[in-house]
């Protein structure tokens, strides 16, 4: 780890101004991704701005029938939240399936979404549920947020403050974990919403994406069979030690079918 300055502001606004003042600064949330990166000397920020002290970034509240989750809310808090469970059970299930207990007790929704890891679970929910990403500067629609592997619409110095999920009619999430890391090799979130069926896939591509094939199939019939019948093209899907693109394409429809079944 290289040396860096450390700040622990009390509010999101103070955090933002610290970032503006220190050009090479980075925010740290749960640190589950950032700290190992620093330890391996793969990043050299001048300063770390720890969001852990910003009380205004924490918490879960029901808002407009949907649910709003503060950026610094941990996966464990989301998984066990009664409000999340009764509003969007799939989201609680997703959070409860991330990593292991240590990771769930440190990792945050803001950190996960900001990071846009190709294997992360949350991006599937953000995109599949048509969430709004709120930052210290603006509100970004999920469809405009994920830009590529570890790439998002966030600008330098922009901090995610909360994520708002509208309530779907039905939603389900299912992932096939990487046997080693347990990140998603393929994770699929299916949602039946007032404006139609949304299907978001994580793990299979450079970042989370919506599957047109599945949205069409499930738009016709919101059933496991329809999902299983959808033919997913393997072009452009990830290909690595653990899964070929063809296997991932196959898993997308299998996970979608299971997500539909879970959605009830």
């Amino acid at each position: 780890m290289y040396d860096f300055g450390y700040h622990r502001p009390d509010t999101a606004a103070d955090a933002a101004s610290l970032l503006t003042k220190n050009g090479e600064a980075k925010v740290v949330a749960g640190g589950m991704t950032l700290i190992p990166t620093l330890k391996q000397r793969l990043a050299q920020p001048s300063d770390l701005v720890d969001l852990g002290g910003a009380a205004d970034l924490k918490g879960i509240k029901i808002e407009g029938g949907g649910i709003t989750i503060g950026a610094m809310t941990t996966h464990a808090e989301v998984a066990r939240s009664g409000d999340v469970q009764k509003t969007i059970l799939a989201l609680a299930v997703l959070a409860g399936g991330i990593g292991d207990p240590q990771v769930r007790n440190r990792g945050t929704i803001g950190g996960s979404v900001a990071n846009s890891d190709p294997g992360a679970d949350y991006p599937a929910a953000v995109l599949g549920l048509g969430a709004k990403i709120r930052t210290n500067k603006r509100e970004i629609a999920a469809d405009n947020f994920f830009k590529g592997m570890f790439e998002t619409a966030l600008q330098d110095g922009e901090i995610i403050t909360a994520i708002h999920f509208p309530k779907p009619e039905k939603a389900g999430y299912c992932k096939h974990p990487n046997p080693a890391s347990r990140y998603a090799i393929v994770g699929v979130l299916v949602a039946k919403t007032a404006s139609g069926v949304r299907v978001a896939v994580t793990g299979a591509g450079p970042c989370a994406f919506r599957s047109k094939e599945l949205e069409v199939a499930l738009g016709g019939s919101f059933s496991a069979d329809a999902a299983k019948g959808a033919k997913i093209k393997s072009d452009g899907l990830n290909n690595d030690l653990h899964a070929t693109a063809a296997y991932r394409a196959h898993l997308v429809s299998v996970m979608a079918a299971r997500a539909v079944a879970a959605a009830g």
Binding site: R41, N178, A180, L241, H250, V254
Partner: protein, 791 residues
């Protein structure tokens, strides 16, 4: 002593300190004035070192010294075993210097040692070292290493061949195939594994300026062996000036047997800077530099007569040594592998050839089971395939070929003589415990839920209790493999046991205390077991090859016999009786036909306060040492049965039942034995379903360099195991014990793969390689269904 003696499931004495975080591991030790070392490692698999510029690093903050291959003026790391090729020539034994001089030969090879006031400063300085490499194409594939035109690891090793060895009677085997009614052939890969001990390797080199003595604190399974190898061969420090301490060690699985060059580096450099130096591997260094295991590519053929009796076996194996020869590496695919190819069967003619190859990868050496898992996997896959091909029931085929229980001692055609065993009983017990007969019901039930269920079996044998010195000497070992035990009875009757073996998870502090509690009739609380410090324990060979109880325990028993003999003479004197009339039982000496008695404690006190003592005949004190050299290997064996359920949509295999019935000879602590089997089976399931070390074929980069990509077995990957033992006694050691450390990892992998293949058989799948990951299972199903559709 029924509650703490032989056969009691005594809770482990060592667990209090382990479970409360009070163990002392290397990284817990800090010496006054200690410095920290970082090792700059090669980012390339194969490159010439054109230039190393350390000028900037040397003057970086906190840096004490920076050393490279040019500075290193001591010996290379030696290999402990020499194999001779078919033509009688000795194996190619390339030099292995702790710091590379002109070439790097694997990713992680050692280029420079940076010593600084802190680890972070050493690491900072390492970034200032400018190494100019001329990259070369590497060879990493075991199968391709001896092919023409590939990169060469060592000029002296033509076609990257270290040795080309064989065993058995080729003519007899060929003749057997000439008579065969059926021949089954198989091609197998036994994939490379990374050991992953919980505690990364670490070493502290210390130099005492007052006495000129060196101390090495190291994560070792055998401190005396390290002292011998490093002291005598590498650094040329007299053993009397070198102490090696291996305190609590957090797991080894073989990977901490070997003498690693980091140990030599910190000791050598500590002498140079006259301050202690600590090096602790980061986890990624463990992945990159701990000796790996397995890595065989084999072709095998089994000849059967029309009734299914095995007539002959031919095996041809290529074994990867990596870039250098690690301490035991050459003997693993030869004397710990090919000699096991008879297994539990009466196959009369066996011929095996083994070619060891160098590649641009980290050295491969013994890893839990070492050679025997490879032999077992090959045999049990082959026998299973023969059963499917001939239509003979797979259990019947095995039974038909078992060595009969009354045929021991049994001489195999590949050098070993088994002393005892009863493969029929372990088979029957396992069949019953696993409800083998009920599989079709469970299969049908699973099918209703869209799952494929399968059951697999492995009947195995292994050779451990390593090893008779004269035998291994004739096979190329450069050391004896006896063990020592010392018993020091203290004046008030408590006892310290010194053993040359080393406990790094095995529970010796409990098992050995039980032996002594049983033998001397004293409470287990009065017995301490000491190990791991060359200044405390007599010269001993350490722990590996499931030898600690069979060999080390036997040495303790022999030392105990000497103690009892001497104590009996003291007791006879005290009770004014003749030695022949004195009986020792349950910690008390009595004289037949009288009510005279003396406790062990009273006798101990007399030995140290010899006022009323036969001083002209007997020395005072009560302390004895014994060396025990075994007469033969020991031969545990048994039957493992695995049941799996496969999700054909995802390819995910779940182990739903696992039964292990093992014959490990006499059991001292059943709970510890069960724990050893659990751990071993877990590693076996890990190999069968989860673990694989992968190097990139073109660049030689390690692709599985962290837990993000290397899949360790976890609790939720495993069912509750059904574990039982059935003992036939080892006939040649005083305990009758055979060994249990490795059986789990040896017997289990083929049981798992045979179960996977049994589950997939209805889909036309006939082969799958380890690890049977979801991807591979899914691909096999696709290919199998394609084949079925085409047929």
């Amino acid at each position: 002593m029924a509650d703490s003696g032989i056969g009691a499931s005594v809770k482990r004495k060592e667990d209090f300190r382990f479970l409360t975080g009070r163990g002392t591991y290397i990284d817990d030790i800090n010496r006054p004035g200690q410095t920290c070392a970082y090792i700059l490692r090669s980012p390339h698999a194969h490159a010439d070192i054109v230039k190393i510029d350390v000028a900037k690093a040397k003057v970086a903050p906190g840096v004490i010294t920076v050393l490279t291959g040019a500075d290193y003026d001591k010996g290379g790391v030696p290999c402990g075993w020499q194999i001779h090729s078919k033509d009688g020539s000795p194996m190619i034994e390339p030099p292995h210097f702790p710091l590379c001089k002109d070439k790097v030969r694997h990713v992680g090879d050692q280029v420079a040692l940076i010593v600084a006031e802190t680890y972070a400063l050493a690491k900072d300085a390492a970034e200032l070292i400018d190494v100019t490499y001329k990259e070369q194409k590497p060879i990493v594939s075991t199968g391709d290493a001896d092919k023409p035109g590939v990169a060469q690891v060592w000029a002296a090793a033509k076609n990257n061949t270290c040795y080309d060895w064989h065993i058995g009677d080729k003519a007899a085997a060929d003749a057997a195939f000439g008579k065969a009614a059926h021949v089954t052939k198989i091609d197998l890969v036994n994939q490379r594994l990374i050991p992953n001990a919980m505690e990364p390797r670490a070493a502290i080199g210390d130099f005492d300026r007052a006495t000129g003595d060196y101390t090495l604190y190291t994560t070792s399974q055998n401190p005396h062996v390290i002292r011998l190898l490093m002291g005598a061969f590498v650094l040329q420090i007299p053993e009397s000036k070198l102490r090696v301490v291996a305190p609590d060690v957090g797991g080894g699985f073989g990977s901490k047997i070997f003498h690693y060059s980091e140990e030599a580096l910190v000791t050598w450099a500590a002498g140079k800077i006259q301050r202690p130096i600590k090096w602790t591997a980061e986890r990624s260094e463990s992945f990159m530099t701990d000796a790996h295991g397995r890595d065989h590519v084999s072709h095998a053929e089994l000849a059967l007569d029309k009734d299914g009796k095995f007539l002959g076996l031919r095996v041809s194996t290529k074994a990867n040594m990596g870039a250098y020869l690690s301490t035991f590496a050459p003997c693993v695919p030869t004397y710990l592998y090919a000699t096991l190819l008879a297994g539990v069967y009466t196959t009369p003619a066996i011929y095996a050839e083994v070619k060891a190859v160098f590649t641009h990868t980290v050295p491969v050496d013994a890893y839990r089971g070492a050679g025997r898992p490879e032999a077992t996997y090959l045999l049990e896959r082959l026998v299973e395939k023969a059963a499917r091909e001939t239509g003979i029931d797979r259990v019947e085929l095995r039974r038909k070929n078992f060595i009969p229980t009354n045929a021991f001692p049994y001489q195999t055609p590949v050098a070993l003589q088994y002393d005892s065993g009863d493969y029929f009983s372990t088979l029957d017990m396992a069949l019953k415990a696993s409800d083998w007969a009920g599989i079709e019901t469970r299969r049908a039930e699973a099918k209703k839920h869209g799952k494929l269920r399968g059951i697999g079996i492995s009947t195995y044998l292994e050779a451990c209790g390593i090893a008779p010195s004269a035998v291994v000497g004739s096979l190329g070992a450069r050391a004896g493999l006896y063990e020592t035990g010392s018993i020091r009875v203290h004046p008030t009757g408590s006892v310290t046991v010194f053993t040359g073996t080393h406990s790094h998870g095995q529970g010796h502090e409990t098992t050995f205390a039980q032996l002594v509690s049983d033998g001397l009739g004293i409470p287990i609380e009065s017995i301490e077991v000491s190990h791991g410090d060359t200044n405390k324990i007599p010269f001993g060979m350490g722990t590996y090859g499931s030898r600690s109880l069979a060999v080390g325990g036997s040495a303790i028993v022999k030392a105990m016999d000497k103690i009892v003999k001497k104590a009996t003479r003291i007791a006879a004197h005290l009770m004014e009786a003749s030695v022949a009339d004195v009986e020792f039982k349950n910690g008390t000496f009595t004289v037949a036909g009288t009510d005279k008695s003396k406790t062990f404690g009273e006798v101990a006190l007399t030995a140290y306060v010899p006022h009323n003592y036969p001083i002209t005949e007997l020395e005072p004190g009560l302390e004895e040492t014994a060396f025990y050299d075994p007469l033969n290997f020991t031969y545990p064996g048994g039957c493992h049965i695995c049941e799996v359920e496969i999700d054909p949509d995802t390819g995910v295999t779940k182990v739903v039942n696992f039964t292990a019935v093992d014959d490990v000879g006499r059991v001292i602590n059943p709970m510890i034995v069960e724990g050893q089997v659990h751990g071993g089976v877990t590693q076996g399931i890990g190999q069968a379903l989860l673990e694989a070390c992968a190097y990139d074929k073109d660049s030689g980069q390690l692709l599985t360099g962290s837990y993000m990509d290397y899949t360790m077995p976890r609790a939720d990957d495993l069912p509750n195991f059904k574990v039982a033992t059935h003992a036939t006694m080892c006939t040649h050691n005083p305990l009758g014990s055979k060994g249990v450390g490795e059986v789990g990892a040896i017997g289990s992998p083929p049981a798992v793969i045979n179960a996977v293949l049994d589950a997939l058989a209805p889909l036309g799948v006939q082969d799958i390689s380890m690890p049977a990951t979801p991807l591979k299972v899914w691909q096999a199903i696709q290919a199998g269904s394609g084949r079925m559709a085409a047929e």
